[in-house]
Symmetry: C2
Subunit: 170 residues, 2 copies
């Protein structure tokens, strides 16, 4: 059982967007370039993030993606569920109600004990992911990054954003 | 992202085996019959449980499956990992080390902050599953089962086991 690679991509893109100066945007092609990811596939992940309100896109010459709400209000769980959906990992097919011990469905407790235990574990997973915000990830990423990588990243972002400023009137 | 149905099957089979009288075994065909599951597919799940030492099979006319160790020493995590393997859900492809901010690999902290957060959540999931034993599941299942289902189950098990007793000498 694996999460799709889109989860990793989306988490990194949201983290980078959280680190941009206020109001700045990056188009999908630049997000792909920064993370060395295949553009067309990344575009699908970005569409999933857009549907979930995690990012929003602006149009026009300097259009692109930015976070759809403050980074402090986007959890890692929001990102995982935007990409993977929010179904449970464990699907209960009510095996307890089959076979020679079967009785009328209404006689059973609402939740099978095995399913209940599986779902409590998933709840613990969700609780952990819900406690981590994109703002925290952005801060941690900048704290942990090698200084040289941070400098190269800032240089790249500054350069890209400088070519995307609206023309000034003279 | 979903766990395979084999996890549900294996958990129910282990729970039934935990409820059998000491020393009793059930063949794969009977485990399939009790749970109304497809025998050939269930056999694969039972093979996975065997490889993990969760069940063991005895051969001969009254051969079949029994638990490979006490039900108090088999966790729900053991069962899930026997079927699904123990790889993490989240796979880190080290995106932080790619693209224009890239520097030498040795300069980076051992674990990406995003991967670390994802893996801490998985640890919480595993911790919950590890805390649940097959003995607890068997007790809970018998407590929760409708009385009529419990009676039908016991009748079925008793009947099956009675036809599998070694011949008595007269």
């Amino acid at each position: 059982m694996h999460l799709s690679e889109g989860v990793e991509w989306a988490a990194h893109c949201a983290t980078l967007l959280a680190a941009l100066p206020s109001g700045a945007t990056l188009p999908a092609t630049r997000l792909a370039e920064y993370h060395d990811l295949p553009g067309p596939y990344l575009a699908k992940s970005l569409q999933s993030l857009t549907r979930a309100g995690i990012v929003e896109s602006t149009t026009g010459r300097i259009g692109g993606y930015r976070l759809g709400r403050p980074a402090t209000e986007i959890s890692l769980l929001d990102i995982v569920q935007a990409i993977e959906g929010s179904e449970t990992f464990f699907r209960c097919t009510e095996i307890r109600r089959r076979g020679p011990s079967r009785v009328a469905a209404r006689a059973y407790a609402p939740t099978c004990g095995i399913a209940g235990a599986m779902w409590r574990a998933e709840q613990a997973w969700r609780d952990e992911l819900r406690a981590v915000t994109v703002a925290q990830l952005a801060e941690l990423t900048m704290q942990q990054a090698p200084l040289a990588a941070l400098e190269k990243g800032v240089t790249w972002v500054t350069s890209v954003l400088s070519t995307r400023r609206p023309p000034t009137t003279s």
